[in-house]
Symmetry: C2
Subunit: 337 residues, 2 copies
DNA sequence: GTGGGCCGCCGAACCGATTCGACTTGTCGG
DNA sequence: CCGACAAGTCGAATCGGTTCGGCGGCCCAC
């Protein structure tokens, strides 16, 4: 069931079959029909490897995800899903590669084995050796999130600094004077994870501008940590009336803490944040939040990558998204003293 | 940077380079060293497509996942992660293919484009056309979960019927007389989703054997549905003292319902279930449950697949796992009347 | 009637690896 | 001293596509 077999059965040359399928040269309607009939009959499809070898491109992209041992957050999962979706739409296959840990063989295979035409990188660090590696290999790539020197690369990101700042402004507008940021974990910040850094920076700046008193609280990415974090906050800093959170995975824990403490939201305490819509709407009461558009981001990443594959020497394009804050039920006027 | 270039620089024939790398024929130590030196210098790796073309295998496997629009449950995510992990360990690449919905092009590309050496299928239905398609294509495959006629295929599955039955027996042993099963959604059952069917069957059988009164309650895969489901159960069937659940995604909602209703677990109500350990331990109080060994299952699936690829005509092997029930804090003696 | 141009198709080269048969050495035994 | 044998290497064929140059036949214009 190769192209030669099709050609034989249709009584033409292999090249004619190829041209009939690709349309790169005219083929008479009669011949085209005969070829198509044979193909329909035996269900032929070009051999991907043979085509890749000759064409010099694989019609596949790589998606580099955090190592599997760490559980993916819902947001990361959303990216993966949307990238896969968008790629399928563009008739591209997606090769999954865990990176970090001891999985660098997989990453290396992807790159130097020329298995893919381009790569999408998730969970970028401010200094990221994978970016360096891809640059030196000359393989087109797009990152979700950006490094410390974002100019030279293509990326899609959410403007955490601005979004967190907007949350702070929103709370300040409602009269809150003392607010806290529940950030990602200390380890992530130490590892140079951009969103955590930028959230912190945006928070600090907005707090300063509005003359509020604010504190930055690190929190691991899981419900238990969220609950503990919330309890400590209540215990030690009872004066806080507004919370901003960028830690999606901690939300269920925060909610649990709130309910156990019997705090009324938003009457006694307001909460705003940055989260995937799915999580914001799952929160009780529904969370006022900037909804991270994971689906759009995956689509954009694939689009940018395709563009870059087509013109590798074009100017690198970026996309910094600033989704609007959806006002839901978790924020309200600051309680009277 | 192809094998010819290496050969040229090392002053040998291309075939010699190939033999030096594969070791399929003896090459003198001196030549081998010279070749290795050149390779180390310019960082050569064989071109995956060329190798695949000649060898007739791609060193990649396909992983067919539910369509991305549906959010993956934590358990499904665990499978994906463990398959990717295990594959990386065996130096295999993983091609992701969403299936169902309008994504069948992607599935078809995988198969007839011979992009992969084998396929792992998730979320199998009792009657599944993808299985039929793979069989007729003669492509080795392993399913996670099994169809109505499991004899002819390779699969790895969790014995839902037995596990649910064990939960029922556990509750019965503790003196509970009226129990409910919180199952997956009505749609899934209607679509012929095996685990939901088998959970129901196992529950019914165990309830009958122990002479309990029991009811089967369908529930969608999300927290909100879980909460509603729990509330209805309390409202209409207050006599229930034991709950068995196989609906992982509903757990947070169930927990919320319990807390809002102020029910004491396990004093007033016992809960047991089947869930990934991660979820069972995240439940408050920690959930007595059969921990679905997602990590093991992915590893086994890859192992079975590799075996099948090596000997496509061997007898199909299955693996039906029955993990033990971990006794945690959510079950206790039935309350006295 | 003949030359030019175009349409439709064919044959061969090529992509980068693997693998088989054959060839050149060198060594050892008879 | 010559033949057998083994070790080490080379050249060519092959996998299944795509693509380039060329060739035959037909139509049309001069």
């Amino acid at each position: 069931m190769n192209i030669g077999e099709i050609a034989r059965r249709a009584g033409v040359a292999r090249s004619t079959v190829s041209y009939a399928l690709s349309g790169r040269r005219p083929v008479s309607p009669a011949t085209k029909r005969r070829i198509q009939a044979v193909i329909d009959e035996i269900g032929y499809r070009p051999h991907a490897a043979a085509r890749a070898l000759k064409e010099g491109r694989t019609r596949a992209i790589g998606l580099v995800i955090p190592p599997a041992s760490l559980l993916l957050t819902d947001m990361q999962l959303g990216f993966v899903a949307s990238v896969v979706e968008a790629a399928a739409h563009a008739d591209l296959d997606v090769l999954l590669s865990p990176s970090g840990g001891d999985h660098d063989r997989s990453f290396e295979r992807l790159i130097s084995g020329r298995r893919v035409d381009g790569v999408i990188l998730m969970e970028i660090r401010l200094e990221d050796e994978r970016v360096t590696r891809l640059q030196q290999a000359g393989l087109p790539f797009v990152t979700i999130g950006h490094t410390a020197r974002p100019q030279g690369t293509c990326w899609v990101d959410v403007d955490y600094a601005t979004l967190v700042a907007r949350c702070v402004h929103h709370l300040a507008d409602l009269g809150h004077r003392t607010v806290a940021l529940i950030n990602r974990s200390t380890e992530l910040v130490a590892a140079g994870y951009g969103p955590a850094h930028r959230a912190q920076a945006g928070f600090a700046e907005a707090v300063r501008r509005r003359g509020l008193s604010g504190m930055n609280v690190p929190c691991a990415d899981n419900p238990a940590a969220g609950e503990e974090c919330f309890e400590q906050l209540r215990e030690r800093h009872g004066e806080i009336t507004g919370i901003v959170t960028v830690n999606e995975a901690a939300l269920p824990g925060i909610q649990r803490g709130i309910e156990r403490a019997g705090v009324a939201v938003p009457r006694e305490l307001s909460i705003a944040g940055v989260a995937a819509r799915h999580w914001a709407e799952g929160f009780r009461p529904q969370l006022t939040a900037a909804d991270v558009p994971t689906l759009e981001m995956g689509t954009h990443a694939v689009d940018l990558l395709l563009e870059r594959i087509a013109t590798p020497d074009g100017a690198p394009r970026h996309l910094l998204l600033t989704p609007p804050i959806s006002l839901r039920d978790s924020t309200g006027p600051a309680p009277a003293r």
